[in-house]
């Protein structure tokens, strides 16, 4: 087998796939620029993606905050009572909150989107939408993309608060810190930019997660096996997209 030819083919396939995803994202993301708007579909997506993800995101955040507090405490050499809330706050708000919440939503929602849309594809429900004069991109794709892009920053904001609270619980009740010191050190150190950069990342993650879920579901073929494969690929692609875009955005946001 010619290795160069195979590598070239794989590269071309990958570039082609990225192009198709970008085209799909542009079509899905702009489908609501012109009406009609399906608010009921949007509300349902917002409730499923945002509200229903709160418990899993909250649990992830509180345990991460708590574990992070213990790790920082063990690693600190001096003045731990001042540094712990600062390091914990920045870590949660800038990095761990957005990334962990996004990964949880990717696992929970991109798989659900791919499975739901994929099942609709293989059972001809998407064809039925077209025959009923309803654009599938307006009814199925745009509401999910917009809902996830809006919901993830709100989820991350919640995760930030809960994560910091998890650190507070460990610091105060297990490590014996003074509660007011914890809060003062945290609030004094954190800047608005720290919070907004995390929320900006979250919006991008939300967009990418929903695009992956919708894209792989929409193009799934071949019955239950095809839907299973689409679901698996959607979750992996969403997680990789979150982690890769996180690095790219961090390198742009952080002044080195």
């Amino acid at each position: 087998m010619n290795v160069v030819a195979a590598t070239g083919r794989l590269t071309l396939d990958a570039i082609g796939e990225i192009g198709r995803i970008a085209n799909f994202a542009a079509r899905g993301g702009t489908a609501w620029f012109v009406g009609p708007f399906y608010w009921r579909a949007f509300g349902g997506a917002l409730a499923r993606i945002g509200y229903a993800s709160l418990p899993v995101v909250g649990l992830t955040a509180i345990f991460t905050g708590a574990a992070l507090a213990l790790n920082i405490y063990e690693g600190a050499l001096f003045n731990v009572e001042a540094f712990l809330p600062q390091i914990l706050g920045v870590s949660i708000v800038r990095e761990l909150g957005p990334v962990l919440a996004a990964l949880m939503v990717a696992g929970r929602c991109s798989s659900a989107m791919a499975a739901e849309i994929g099942t609709m594809r293989v059972t001809e429900q998407i064809d039925a939408l077209s025959t009923l004069s309803v654009d599938p991109f307006k009814y199925l794709i745009a509401p999910r993309i917009i809902a996830t892009t809006l919901a993830l920053p709100l989820l991350v904001l919640t995760a930030d608060i809960i994560g910091v609270y998890g650190g507070y619980l460990v610091s105060v009740y297990a490590l014996g810190f003074e509660p007011t010191h914890y809060i003062t050190n945290l609030v004094d150190f954190l800047s608005v930019d720290d919070v907004t950069s995390g929320l900006l990342k979250a919006a991008v993650f939300g967009f990418l997660i929903s695009v992956m879920g919708c894209y792989y579901g929409y193009k799934s073929r071949g019955g239950a096996g095809g839907v299973g494969s689409a679901t698996r690929t959607a979750v992996v692609a969403a997680a990789v997209a979150v982690l890769a875009s996180n690095y790219l955005m961090t390198s742009l946001l952080v002044e080195v």
Partner: protein, 264 residues
């Protein structure tokens, strides 16, 4: 006697998927108010033909005229205008399982025609009654219905906006003979009531004889015979004859048989 005006006219329609040429110059026309049934074995291109007519697939070449307007190259909004005057009953009914039955039936009214939910629900209940379903069925989920009931709901959805053209994809597949006959009767009755032009695809000959004004047979991507239901038994075409009588031996060689033979 003057012939009826053509509602649908198809000329030299081609469609291929890669190297697989599925439709090879299909020519068909359907007069206004006529019911044409396209028969043919699995994999002969029946579903591709109907999807090209519905705009779900784009034909590679050829003409599809509806009321004299070529829609083969139309996309987006123009194509949706055509879709507004047609209804489709899918093989598996293709009901939206996230919505209940009445919302399925009223889907086009709510989401495309932007009618109020109250008005749409009344119309949906009326359509359900036309296909023999009680109003209470409207509040059930599609998953709670039997196959026959799902077909009825699919038919109710197809006729909800009083379309001029109806497409039926294997309307009796998966149903027992009695339920299949009930569905056939419903199709005939509803189509007559609407005065619609219909194209159905099926390999169920009992269904074809019952709902067709004319039958056409598709084989290897081409229409090889067309005639009245009464003529199909004695078509004089060996391929039609083999298909109608369901014989394994004859000029039509099924793909599965060729593959099996080649592997031995």
């Amino acid at each position: 006697m003057a012939s009826k005006p053509k509602k649908i006219l198809i000329r030299d329609l081609d469609k291929a998927f890669g190297d697989n040429q599925v439709l090879r110059g299909v020519n068909l026309d359907v007069a206004k108010g006529q019911s044409l049934v396209v028969i043919g074995g699995s994999g002969t291109g029946k579903s591709v033909l109907i999807k090209c007519l519905l705009g779900l697939l784009k034909a590679d070449k050829g003409v599809i005229e509806i009321d004299g307007v070529n829609i083969a190259r139309q996309t987006g909004g123009d194509r949706r205008l055509m879709a507004q005057q047609s209804g489709m009953l899918f093989q598996g009914a293709a009901l939206f399982d996230s919505l209940n039955v009445w919302e399925n039936v009223a889907f086009r009214l709510i989401y495309a025609e932007r009618k109020s939910r109250k008005h749409a629900r009344e119309k949906a209940i009326d359509c359900l009654a036309q296909v023999g379903l009680a109003p209470e069925v409207g509040d059930l989920a599609p998953a709670e219905l039997s196959g026959g009931m799902q077909k009825r709901v699919g038919l109710a959805r197809a006729i909800a906006s009083d379309p001029e053209i109806l497409f039926f994809d294997e309307p009796t597949t998966g149903l027992d003979p009695i339920m299949a006959d009930i569905i056939n009767n419903l199709l005939v009755e509803r189509v007559k009531a609407l005065g619609a032009t219909t194209i159905s695809i099926t390999h169920d000959m009992a269904s074809a004889r019952k709902i067709a004004d004319e039958i056409a047979m598709l084989y290897q991507g081409q229409i090889i015979w067309r005639g009245k239901p009464g003529e199909v038994e004695n078509s004089g075409n060996p391929m039609v004859d083999q298909f109608v009588h369901g014989r394994a031996e004859g000029p039509i060689q099924m793909q599965v048989r060729r593959d099996f033979t080649s592997r031995r």
